[in-house]
């Protein structure tokens, strides 16, 4: 009565609900969409469908990127941009993390600070650019201030929400073990919320990149954004695209770094379920 196994193999189809996909195929598929993208781009240039002055070929862009780094000191611009991001982000985190944790832990702090913070969240940071320029001139301060303003209120809110979601049973367990308030804050609330804080930081760093480019395009002579605006004046589209490429790659690099940090700092977490 046995059914021949070869004749009736369990069906394998490309599109199947809930079916997993192997790692090998995931990599192949993920790479091929990029190959497809650059291939079509190159094809469009070679076949003359597009004006090469406006759309340089991808190889041309890579070539320009190399020239920028090798001959024109682009590394300095990249360094300045990264320093601006990190500088303002560190200050924002130094304020947002303790404040957010306290707001999420104690209703009194939340009631005092949150009406202020949540109102600021509705003001888009670029709205402050004119006044920041008036106050701080054209130096580093207005850029740092813009990045800071763009990030801090969201970061506070995210961290507050995550902190207030720490399960009450964990806190109550510590209470019935004889924990004092500050002990519980340090030994239960902070470690419980820390993975979520790192995730929030990762998300907000991506937002910081957005504000960085805005700041550098509007009022700067240095940095990646400023280089791109200079290139625009001379119709160097290949340099503009090289700038876009490098911003994308840096964003990706920071994201990878944060994911790595998360794995190193929180080995006890099920990383698959906490991506």
């Amino acid at each position: 009565m046995a059914v021949g196994r070869d004749d009736h193999a369990f069906r394998q189809r490309w599109f199947e609900f809930l079916a997993p996909i192997s790692r090998k195929w995931r990599i192949i598929l993920g790479t091929s969409i990029w190959i497809l993208f650059f291939g079509l781009w190159e094809l469009a240039v070679l076949s003359g469908w597009v004006n090469t002055l406006l759309v340089p070929s991808p190889l041309q862009v890579i070539n320009t990127l190399y020239e920028l780094f090798a001959e024109r000191g682009f590394l300095m611009d990249v360094g300045i941009s990264v320093a601006r991001i990190l500088g303002s982000f560190v200050v924002a985190c130094a304020i947002a993390i303790p404040l957010g944790v306290l707001m999420g832990s104690f209703k009194a702090v939340e009631s005092f600070v949150n009406p202020f913070v949540s109102a600021w969240r509705y003001l888009p940071a670029p709205a402050f650019i004119p006044i920041l320029l008036m106050w701080f001139g054209t130096g580093e301060l207005p850029k740092l201030a813009l990045l800071f303003l763009g990030v801090i209120f969201f970061l506070i809110t995210l961290i507050m929400d995550h902190t207030s979601q720490v399960r009450s049973e964990l806190i109550e367990t510590a209470m019935t073990l004889g924990g004092q308030r500050w002990q519980i804050l340090w030994t239960v609330v902070v470690p419980a919320v820390l993975p979520s804080i790192v995730t929030s930081m990762r998300q907000m760093l991506a937002i910081a990149w957005t504000y960085l480019v805005i700041a550098e395009i509007i009022a700067s002579t240095t940095g990646i954004g400023a280089m791109m605006m200079r290139a625009r004046r001379f119709l160097n589209t290949d340099e503009i695209m090289a700038g876009i490429l490098i911003i994308g790659l840096l964003g990706l690099a920071f994201d990878v770094m944060f994911r790595w940090l998360q794995r190193v700092l929180f080995p006890y977490l099920d990383q698959e379920g906490h991506a």
């Binding site: 510590a174 019935t176 004889g178 470690p191 419980a192 006890y268």
Partner: protein
């Protein structure tokens, strides 16, 4: 003087009551009402009075919504009564403290600590020296049978094992009263009775007084030296039941229960109480 009965029949608690007659834990006319905006206060618990004695396993049993968990949380000091008095060893309960450790139904292992560190946690809060901490934790981890997993993180443990970590952590902290809020409610049937047997043996080994909440009748009869049966509307102690058929003995294994005469009658009696008190139509 009989303080411990709201209503219902008085049954003499023969159980394992210790030599002294001073109660360990005493609740006197405890009530709790919740404030509802634009409405009359809701009285969740009314006039709850009972006592628990040294080394006793006392079970709060009743239909859902009778307020048994609220009573337990008030004993833990996690909630404040609106009337009445709660005392432990004669001292009024004014908040949570190390002397009243609680095990919850939800898993409460700290994910970022290993089993060993979890069990040491309470002692760290109370500044127990490192050496003693190690030793006591190892002892209780051994008691709950998790020595092989001492260095594992909780995410590698099953639900029953996490609950054993919670029990070890609470007992290693040497509370004078162990509180348990449906501690085995989330476990599958087999793990559940294994845990019940384990709990009895370690409560005995650690000389702990236990106050436990459950809605499982069999669990209550198996574990309890005394059962406080609570009713709904009002949430109060309806009847104090001593499972006297056990003749003051603690059972080791669940199957012993079946052979004992008197078990069937008690279970039938409690089932009837549950039916009466559990249905909304019978506010007699």
């Amino acid at each position: 003087m009989n303080l411990s009965h709201a209503k219902g029949e008085a049954s003499t608690a023969t159980a394992v009551r210790a030599s002294t007659d001073e109660p360990k834990l005493r609740l006197e006319r405890v009530g709790k009402s919740f404030h509802v905006p634009r409405g009359p206060d809701i009285e969740a618990i009314t006039d709850v009075s009972f006592s628990t004695y040294e080394n006793e396993v006392c079970v709060l049993l009743g239909p859902s919504g009778c307020g048994k968990s609220t009573v337990l949380r008030m004993v833990a000091g996690l909630e404040q009564p609106t009337s009445g008095e709660l005392t432990l060893d004669g001292q009024p309960i004014v908040g949570p403290a190390q002397e009243r450790g609680m095990v919850f139904q939800a898993y409460t292992s700290f994910d970022w600590l290993t089993v060993q560190q979890n069990v040491e946690y309470g002692m760290r809060l109370n500044h127990v020296p490192r050496g003693e901490r190690r030793e006591r934790a190892a002892h209780f981890i051994d008691l709950v049978g998790l020595s092989r997993f001492a260095d594992a993180y909780p995410r590698h443990l099953s639900g029953g094992m996490k609950q054993r970590v919670a029990i070890a952590r609470t007992l290693a902290n040497q509370p004078s009263l162990l509180l348990m809020d449906e501690p085995f409610g989330a476990l599958d049937a087999q793990t559940r009775w294994q845990m019940q047997e384990l709990m009895l043996s370690i409560a005995e080994a650690a000389n702990t007084t236990v106050l436990m909440v459950t809605h499982d009748i069999e669990e209550a009869i198996f574990l309890a030296d005394r059962i406080e049966f609570m009713s709904r509307h009002p949430g109060t102690v309806h009847e104090e039941i001593a499972p006297s058929f056990k003749q003051g003995r603690r059972l080791r294994q669940k199957e012993e229960l079946i052979g004992l005469s008197g078990y069937d009658d008690l279970e039938r009696h409690i089932l009837q109480l549950m039916r009466e008190q559990g249905s909304d139509s019978t506010d007699h």
